[in-house]
């Protein structure tokens, strides 16, 4: 392929975030190349979730610059999908799984756009991709935690985004859900989309992801799993509390 290089799907320059006077992120530099699948890893309190939220403007940014596809957030919103860690919603809300997925079509529907058979088919297709088509008409609270997580991923799929930001997509889900989510995400990447996920389980990093960003208040290391996901870099990220030997895990 020729032509100018595609801009990074997400780039952060000198990003700093404070909660009150407490610094959570300081001068983070990170660039997420398009068409790649990146894990953000780091110890508890390292600011991983905050990084995603700050990039999306959900928490105030103290300093720094955020660019999506070379543009500010407002211009790129339609190209971004975000799956929060265990969505903080009212599980008793009167919506069904398929209604939740259709919320992902909001940008194409707008306020009064007519919901057509094509929209419904799109929602069902997204549910199928996460293996939830049989549960389309269940009320959202009647699903298990893993099933709920898959529905929220389907909602993100329906958005038709090019960049997927996921906050701990595997936290507290069953094995079936984890493998379903992984294959969907890898399918997205193979289709050219960019995937960025906050991730906890170091042992699965090499199997699931192409690249890593090691984070502890600031970016410690960034790069392909083969070169950046090293014992030395992890030691610097986690200090003395390394939960698992990465080289062992890599095998």
């Amino acid at each position: 392929m020729s032509g100018p290089p595609r801009p990074d799907a997400l780039s952060l320059r000198g990003l700093s975030v404070h909660y009150g006077v407490l610094p959570v992120l300081e001068q983070v530099e990170a660039h997420f190349a398009p068409g790649r699948m990146t894990a953000i890893i780091g110890p508890n309190g390292a600011g991983k979730s905050t990084l995603l939220k700050a990039a999306l403007g959900l928490v105030p940014v103290a300093a720094g610059e955020v660019r999506f596809f070379g543009q500010p957030l407002a211009a790129a919103r339609a190209r971004i999908a975000y799956v929060p860690q265990r969505a903080s919603v009212d599980w008793d809300f009167p919506v069904r799984a398929v209604d939740v997925v259709q919320m992902g079509l909001y940008r194409s529907l707008g306020l009064l756009g007519r919901r057509t058979a094509a929209h419904r088919a799109k929602a069902m297709e997204c549910l199928e991709r996460v293996g939830m088509q049989d549960y389309a008409l269940r009320q959202i609270g009647a699903l298990s935690g893993g099933q709920q997580q898959r529905v929220f991923l389907a909602r993100a799929l329906a958005q038709g985004a090019e960049l997927f930001l996921l906050d701990e997509p595997f936290a507290g889900v069953d094995a079936a859900t984890e493998s379903a989510i992984v294959s969907v995400l890898q399918g997205l990447r193979d289709g050219g989309a960019t995937v960025v996920a906050v991730h906890h389980d170091l042992s699965t990093v090499p199997a699931y992801f192409d690249r890593v960003l090691l984070l502890n208040r600031t970016a410690i290391a960034e790069g392909p799993v083969a070169t950046a996901f090293t014992r030395e870099a992890l030691g610097r990220t986690y200090g003395g509390t390394l939960p698992m030997d990465p080289e062992l895990a890599a095998q």
């Binding site: 959900l58 975000y82 903080s88 008793d92 809300f93 009167p94 919506v95 939740v100 940008r107 306020l111």
Partner: protein
């Protein structure tokens, strides 16, 4: 008999219907946002707002009342927030302090000012006043096409219908963002929706319904209209559009049934006078809720 019905009952029934539906509509979303008591607070706070507006302008015009009630709502929001921060107490307690004090002030102003002699009195706030909103200029059904008679319709009818129409149209236009922001505020914000403005709009709609309904069903019975039909509908379905539609149906049922029972029920038992229509409407809406709680297919959480 027919002429009697048109003169005495038609307009109160219509006003009751519009009032019930105008309240039930925003009530659905207030309930889902765990803000049902906000409706309670608003309906109490409306009283001092209307009284002060009346004292200032000397008229009971729609705009003056809306403005006064809006100002009172703003004052109470500030008070609730101030008390919450200052005393470090939960919002429920701060709300309780605020709306009781505002209501007490409203009563005292009303009693002390003599505004009661003209248009407002404490009884209206406590009992509602549906029965008195009659159509004196009517002679029968044919009056519905008689411009002279139509000009004599009680102004509350036009006001209530307009408020309901406004809320219904706004609800229709903003349905999707409202549903989104109510279900998943974080997602709505990530989509770039103005969630603050949406919340504010919802509270404004509820306040508008409360003000307009005040003259018809009274301050406190407005709460029944805000809460009971949506609560009953919630127990009947797991789908939001259906829930809202059902709540409107139950509101209509309560309004018509309540008025008829209050107006004609005592006659069936040989009693001379009629009962409070607003009270009966609230009672009926409560009966609907009780039935839904006992038999509704979705009465329990999944």
């Amino acid at each position: 008999m027919e002429a009697d019905f048109v003169i005495l009952s038609l307009t109160p029934i219509l006003i009751g219907c519009f009032a019930a539906m105008a309240c039930a509509l925003p009530g659905n979303f207030l309930m889902l946002r765990r803000q049902a008591m906000l409706g309670d607070a608003i309906s109490h706070v409306v009283l001092p707002g209307i009284v002060v507006a009346f004292l200032f302008t000397g008229s009971a015009s729609t705009w003056a009342m809306m403005l006064g009630a809006g100002a009172a709502a703003m004052v109470s929001v500030l008070l609730i927030e101030g008390i919450r921060r200052l005393a470090g107490v939960e919002p429920g307690a701060a709300m309780g302090v605020t709306f009781t004090t505002m209501f007490a002030l409203g009563v005292l102003l009303l009693e002390g000012s003599g505004a009661g002699a003209v248009h407002l009195d404490v009884e209206h706030a406590l009992y509602g006043n549906l029965e008195s909103l009659i159509w004196l200029d009517a002679t029968g059904w044919e009056s519905l096409v008689d411009p002279v008679a139509l000009a004599g319709l009680p102004p509350e009818l036009g006001r209530m219908a307009a408020v309901f129409a406004l809320i219904a149209i706004a609800g229709f236009i903003f349905w999707r963002p409202l549903e989104l922001a109510t279900f998943d505020e974080g997602f709505a914000r990530a989509l770039g929706l103005p969630v603050q403005a949406i919340s504010l709009g919802l509270v404004a709609a509820a306040a508008m319904a409360c003000v307009a309904a005040f003259t018809a069903v009274g301050s406190i019975l407005t709460i029944a209209m805000l809460i009971c039909p949506p609560a009953a509908a919630r127990l009947l379905t797991d789908r939001l559009p259906l829930q809202v539609a059902l709540s409107l149906g139950l509101a209509l049922l309560s309004a018509v049934g309540g008025y008829v029972l209050a107006g004609y029920g005592p006659m069936w038992f040989g009693l001379p006078n009629s009962l409070s229509a607003a009270g009966m409407i609230a009672t009926l809406s409560g009966l609907c809720l009780a039935l839904a709680a006992a038999f509704g297919p979705h009465r329990r959480a999944a």
